[in-house]
Amino acid sequence: MEGNLFTAVLFATVVAGTPLILTALGLLVSERAGVLNLGAEGMMAVGAVAAFAATHHSGSPWLGVLAGLVAGAAMALVFGFLAITLQANQVASGLALAIFGVGLAAFIGKPYESLALPAVPPIRLPFIADIPLLGEALYNQQALVYGSWALFWAVLWFLYRSRAGLVLRAVGESPAAAHAIGHPVLRIRYLAVAFGGAMAGVGGAFLSVFYTPMWVEGMVAGRGWIALALVVFATWRPLRVMLGAYLFGGVMVSQLFVQGAGLQIDFPSQLLSSLPYLATIVVLVAISRNPATIRLNSPLSLGKPYRPDA
């Protein structure tokens, strides 16, 4: 019985952490290139509704994921035009994207509000899914959960083992130096921002097609903002993004299990639901307490526009 509960909690934690991993790893890459895109919430929302609509009309969840990816990237390019080409304030441009995206998603999603999608069956990996306790939780999961692990390894390899990743990090640390030795700073930043948007779109698609196969206005529920906080919490490192995302996933599902376990305590459910948001504040405080932690780890040019010929 207790073993089953452990497996169930672990399973739900991994699922709840997945959209955060997808979104936060994308944001991490774009921030490593020096661009702070606060519009994650909007990109996730538009990705979610695009994925829902595409899945509804085509019947294929994979076309849905593709639609989410493209929609997220398109949103990010709008931001990129403002923040990279026109050198607008990145904070304001990101806020604009967040507000616009949430509104656009609500507008597009209106006709889909009462519909539901068929649940997508999980994929059971042979042999390792039979491992006691862990197997059912980790290896009998949605394909995108495995996808988020693949993304983690890909980002890790790209940033630290590939030449292109080295150039991207150089652009984030010192765009002027990268420009001086002939790297196209603006193009690299565009690509990084588009990648961030695409992954946020996939994160949104995971929510509306796999996690809860439906579209409801406001269903992203601050996950885009939590993902942004996660990148800070992770001090811009992929492994810590993974740990942080599962930590948050655990906080998010804990309330469901507390409520579901029928514990005889009179505890307002709204208070439990606010735990992920309060936890975000707590980890931000914990990581920011020492100013050097942020200063030493954040990409040096983060948030600063770059003008090559100036």
Binding site: A88, F100, G103, L104, G222, Q270
Partner: protein
């Protein structure tokens, strides 16, 4: 071939023309959006811009919607001036409503003339207290105020939900998530008979004047502006950074709290979980479009209120979701940020000698 050439100094003219340009571009994009949806663009824009203004009642509704936007944006602008990014006005608005409701419920059927001032104070203090959390965490622990103030919006929403589903629920309310209707002494007087326009508008106008005096006629306001425009100069002059942060956030929180009070004591007359229509977020756009200046904010909040009412109109007459108003609001801010490039650069035709 078009290219951007830096101006020797920022253009003051473009600073004020840019919001107009953005408004025009939003209308053009809006018309295209209507055409794309197979609706008559002229009719759509008429519903958005003209229909709401055709009579006194329409005008009063416009001012009614503009009131919370004006209040929230005025407070936010003080922080934005100093690069304090409080984006949690939505939560501070809700806390203001909670604070005012607390006073109103405590006063019950009292006829005292002190009920409304008490609610005003309760709303302002509750809003300021909510904004004090990011201020304290920023000054004491260096935590990013954008993320903290935003997270508190979700917490505030859940707090309101808990109150109206739980301890403050109207026992005779057929289980609807709402408090009892406030007594007459807890309602703001109506300014024009036959409309819903209430005293809150005067709070908003007073806040605009107070913000003007503070920003442009006081030393504290001068310090805020220096901190935003030249942080190094502010540091060199010995202006306290934490005082700037506290001032920016507390002003924003108190003003949003008053807006929340005016909403429950004005058109709503009770606290419900459908309290805000996103006024706190729309106020961010109002503050930018209004150039963080009280006069600009006054005009921008009227424009934004028009978008809100227009959204309701097209929902009613064209059968489009009223979230189209949110799309227009987002477009307005996009176009503003884009048009702002002309403050620092000018457009030149042909390839210049200095092209890199």
């Amino acid at each position: 071939m078009l290219r951007l050439e830096p101006r020797p100094q920022a253009s003051r003219l473009m600073t004020w023309l840019s919001p107009l340009l953005a408004a025009v571009l939003t209308l053009v994009a809006g018309g295209m959006l209507f055409a794309l949806l197979g609706k008559d663009p002229a009719e759509g824009l008429r519903l958005f811009l003209v229909a709401p203004l055709k009579d006194l009642y329409g005008l009063s509704e416009l001012l009614l919607k503009a009131t919370p936007l004006m209040l929230c944006a005025t407070g936010l602008a003080i922080g934005f001036r100093a690069n304090i990014w409080n984006i949690g006005a939505e939560g501070q608005f809700m806390l203001g409503a909670v604070g005012a409701t607390g006073v109103a419920l405590w006063a019950g059927e009292s006829e005292s003339a002190l009920v409304l001032p008490g609610m005003l104070l309760g709303g302002a203090l509750a809003g300021a207290a909510w904004a004090a959390i990011p201020a304290w965490l920023k000054t004491r622990f260096n935590a990013n105020e954008i993320l903290v103030s935003l997270m508190l919006v979700y917490v505030a929403q859940l707090l309101v939900s808990w109150l109206v589903f739980g301890p403050w629920k109207d026992p005779q309310g057929f289980n609807f998530p709402q408090t009892v209707m406030f007594a007459d002494a807890a309602l703001l007087p109506v300014l024009v008979d036959g409309t819903r326009l209430h005293l809150g508008l005067l709070f908003a106008l007073a806040a605009l004047v107070a913000a003007y005096v503070f920003m442009y006629r006081s030393h504290a306001g001068f310090r805020m502006r220096v901190a935003g425009e030249a942080p190094d100069a502010a540091r060199y002059a010995g202006f306290s950074a934490s005082r700037t942060i506290w001032t920016g956030l507390l002003c924003g929180g108190a003003a949003a709290g008053v807006a929340g009070m005016a909403e429950v004591a004005g058109p709503m007359g009770q606290l419900t979980d459908k309290l805000s229509l996103g006024y706190g977020f729309a106020a961010i756009i109002v503050a930018f479009v209004g150039r963080l200046h009280p006069l600009g904010i006054f005009l921008a909040s009227l424009l934004m209120a028009l978008l809100y009412i227009g959204g309701e109109q097209v929902q009613q007459y064209m059968n489009l979701p009223n979230s189209i108003a949110l799309v227009f609001q987002g477009l307005l801010l996009f176009f503003l940020l884009g048009a702002d490039v002309f403050i620092r650069y000018r457009l030149r035709f042909g390839s210049g000698a200095a092209s890199a």
